[in-house]
Amino acid sequence: MNLIPSEFAAGGIYFPPLLIASILGLILAWLTAQTLNRYRLSRFFFYPPLVLLAFAVIYTVLIGTFVIPS
């Protein structure tokens, strides 16, 4: 597996891979939070806002490590 990050080019502008990973991470974290809210599972977390932040970080790291560089 190639672990060297690759930049994204749009209209001649290069976007850093971490930026794309963090945007995707945030979107996924938000979707997860909505799903947990929908099924009333968020009540089992001590402090949901912090969990949302943790989800965002976990997704960003996972996407940045396994999805973006490939």
Binding site: A10, G11, G12, I13, F15, P16, L19, I23, L26, A33, Q34, L36, N37, R40, S42, R43, F45, F46, Y47, P48, P49, V51, L52, L53
Partner: protein, 719 residues
């Protein structure tokens, strides 16, 4: 063909933007957007309102620029100290921008311009001065252009709107009074007037008066009288709303026997309000107010229980106040119509200001400071943030503006923002490069502004209108040497994405701004403040409280008076997930019962300062204290868990206390020689007893409304 006000407004705004841009480009200013955006942002329905907003913008620009210079002068060498004081200034401006509707925009601009001078100048003092001057003259040009367009093209004077609103407000208060009187006298229900409608009309009247003072010389010449009129209308509305709360205790009494001239009194007040309505409409009054005083059938009155006498006494006191205010209001409006300046101005007093700390405003100020710091740290520590210092400036400005709509979730901003960016993109990339003269550009500008202003004219669509116009102007970035770069577009889109991430974070940290969290916090604060006020009052005060104790009491009194209004506003934005089986109508019913409780607390505070007979105090002290402590305990319980109080148990407890106190009062009155207690002292005692009972009744009513709320769902943790 008659043009609609909507068409005229959109046309004037578009024309003002085109002219403002033309001047800014002709003068070769660095950022013509300032002139164009000011012309678009100050466009309001009446010229006076626009002038007032524009003047606030200019004054705010001057004060904010000065603050920016001072910060640069002191801390230009140390970015941490600079940012510490800078965020403090922005937080102060945010705090004060919530203070009054009138100066809201001034403080917002004072915060904006400190950002412009401090950050857009990139820490260069020479730049800072040039930028401050240029931005202020850009804003001044935009304002001047809009004023001229507004004055020359379909001029809309605020005076006629002010008089029409005054007429509507009087008519609504008359309807409220007639309805209340009908309920008391057992007439068929003629339909109620919602309190929210009255509050909206009052707010509109206040705003229009500020505007009319600027665009109508007739209103300006009679300014003291108009302000007095405003204060009297507010006083009358307050008295009528408070009076509504007395009805539960009065409904079982035969008021026609107790107060024989009550129907005649009601007719007289309604006639006065009709005459005031006529005068607002421009017609002379057909009759002057007659002198009327509520009569009291003492023999029938003596057959009542002491608590019924107390309720009657409180209500009579309120009606006497309504009579006095309507008489004064009649005189003021009549003076305005006849232009009797000095007569109307006499006796006008500015309402007493109660300076105290508002926790919610502090919370918003803290949120702005936290957002500013987060953005600052991101710009410093994250490499290659698009726009860097300029992005920081834009982010802070948007954060300050966002606090005005604190209850609107950040998600609500995302759709209009990205829709605006997507609409502006093809215009910037494909259309603007094809234009070869200002005439062509003017057609494009005019068409875009006109369409947006026309399409999003409704006040509910204000967010869409503001964001579409601002993003369009920001993205096309018009200058004399026009450049077209996808980078500029991409950077702007990324800056806004970063802004939303920061705003989402500060919606939770340091203080959660989620509507359900805010709602619960405010509810707890309301009851704790009630508890504090109950704990600090009493008949047996031995010594004067300290300055700190007085300040705390003032703070809690302010909380009790203001929180029900805030709760009603936030209650409308509770998410469906937090409501569970609660309906929005039940949330509003709870807000209304909180408002009633707030009025009762205020009534008790007012009655508490009246002079009481020492003999009566001595006789009733122990019982009243016991009652007070019981109410205090209930407040403590509902602050933790509003659903814990059972309405039926509370009602039976209240009834038992009333029976016991009734007997104690009778004993005391029998023991005391009638001559030793003056009529005034006796009246004051009844007012105080009435206030105590009213408060207890309001608590029972509140517990009924609280039982309908799905509290476990509201408390449930969610993202």
């Amino acid at each position: 063909m008659t043009l609609s006000p909507r068409f005229k407004h959109a046309f004037k705004t578009a024309l003002a933007v085109v002219i403002a841009y033309a001047i800014a480009l002709y003068m070769d200013w660095d950022k013509p957007i300032w002139a164009g955006w000011t012309a678009a942002s100050v466009s309001l329905d009446a010229t006076g309102q626009s002038i007032q907003k524009g003047l606030n913008r200019i004054a705010g620009a001057l004060v904010g620029s000065l603050a920016g210079f001072i910060l640069l002068a002191f801390f230009i060498q140390d970015r941490w100290l600079f940012f510490l004081f800078f965020s403090l200034w922005v937080a102060i401006c945010t705090y004060f921008s919530f203070g009054s509707e009138r100066y809201n925009y001034f403080w917002q601009q004072a915060g904006f311009f400190a950002v412009v001078v401090g950050l857009d100048s990139a820490f260069s003092p020479a730049n800072a001065f040039a930028i401050a001057i240029e931005r202020t003259q850009g804003a001044g040009t935009g304002l001047l252009v809009y004023m001229l367009v507004g004055l020359l093209l379909w001029p809309a004077n605020s005076r006629s709107s002010l008089e029409k609103t005054g007429q509507q407000l009087t008519a609504s208060m008359k309807a409220l009074f007639a309805n209340s009187m009908g309920r008391l006298l057992g007439r068929p229900d003629a339909g109620s007037v919602p309190g929210a409608q009255l509050a909206q009309l009052q707010q509109r009247f206040d705003n229009l008066l500020d505007a009319a003072e600027l665009d109508s010389w007739e209103v300006n010449a009679m300014r003291p009288a108009w302000r007095r009129c405003r204060a009297q209308i507010a006083d009358l509305r307050d008295a009528l709303e408070r009076w509504q709360q007395d009805f539960n205790e009065l409904q079982h009494l035969d008021l026609v026997k107790l107060v024989p001239n009550l129907p005649a009194f009601g007719t007289e007040i309604e006639t006065r309000l009709t005459q005031i309505e006529r005068m607002f409409a421009g017609d002379p009054p057909t009759r002057l107010p007659s002198t009327i005083k509520l009569e009291s059938a003492e023999q029938v009155r003596k057959t009542l229980t002491h608590f019924d006498r107390a309720a009657l006494s409180v209500s009579q006191h309120r009606l006497a106040h309504v009579e006095a205010v309507t008489r004064d209001l009649f005189a003021t409006v009549s003076a305005i119509r006849d232009h009797e300046h000095h007569h109307a101005a006499a006796g006008f007093r500015q309402s007493a200001v109660r300076p105290t700390v508002d926790r919610d405003r502090l919370g918003q100020a803290l949120r702005v400071a936290a957002s500013a710091w987060l953005a600052f740290l991101v710009v410093i520590y994250v490499p290659a943030v698009p726009g860097e210092l300029a992005a920081l400036g834009i982010i802070i400005r948007i954060v300050v503006a966002d606090t005005k709509f604190a209850w609107i979730p950040v998600q609500a901003l995302i759709r209009p923002t990205f829709a605006g960016i997507l609409v502006a993109f093809p215009i910037y990339i494909f259309l603007v490069p094809a234009l070869s003269s200002y005439a062509q550009l003017a057609v494009l500008l005019f068409a875009f502004v006109f369409v947006v202003d026309y399409a999003f004219h409704d006040p509910k669509q204000m967010l869409w209108r503001i964001l579409f116009l601002f993003l369009f102007m920001l993205l096309i970035n018009l200058t004399n040497v026009q450049t077209y770069s996808f980078l500029h577009f991409a950077n702007t889109a990324l800056q806004w994405s970063l802004l939303f991430v920061l705003l989402s974070l500060t919606e939770y940290l340091p203080i959660s701004q989620q509507p359900d969290h805010v709602y619960r916090r405010m509810l707890g604060r309301f009851f704790r403040s009630c508890e504090f006020l109950m704990a600090t009052r009493g008949w047996g005060r031995q010594h004067e409280p300290s300055l700190a104790a007085r300040w705390r009491k003032k703070f809690h009194t302010y909380e009790v008076a203001t929180l029900p209004g805030k709760l009603a506003a936030w209650g409308r934005f509770l998410p469906p997930d937090a409501l569970g089986r609660t309906t929005p109508a039940q949330v509003q019913a709870l807000a209304m019962s909180l408002q009633a409780l707030s009025f009762r607390m205020q009534e008790l505070t007012e009655a508490g300062v009246l002079h009481q007979s020492d003999l009566l105090v001595r006789e009733l002290l122990a019982d009243v204290r016991r009652w007070r402590v019981a109410v205090q305990e209930i407040f403590g319980q509902v602050a933790e868990k509003p659903e814990t109080t059972d309405p039926a148990a509370l009602q039976s407890r209240l009834d038992a206390v009333l029976v016991r106190l009734e007997a104690r009062i009778q004993e005391a009155v029998d023991r005391i020689d009638a001559g030793t207690v003056s009529a005034e002292e006796s009246g004051n005692m009844y007012r105080l007893l009435g206030a105590h009972r009213g408060l207890s009744e309001a608590l029972v009513e509140l517990s009924k409304q609280a039982a309908a709320i799905d509290w476990p769902r509201l408390r449930e943790a969610r993202f």
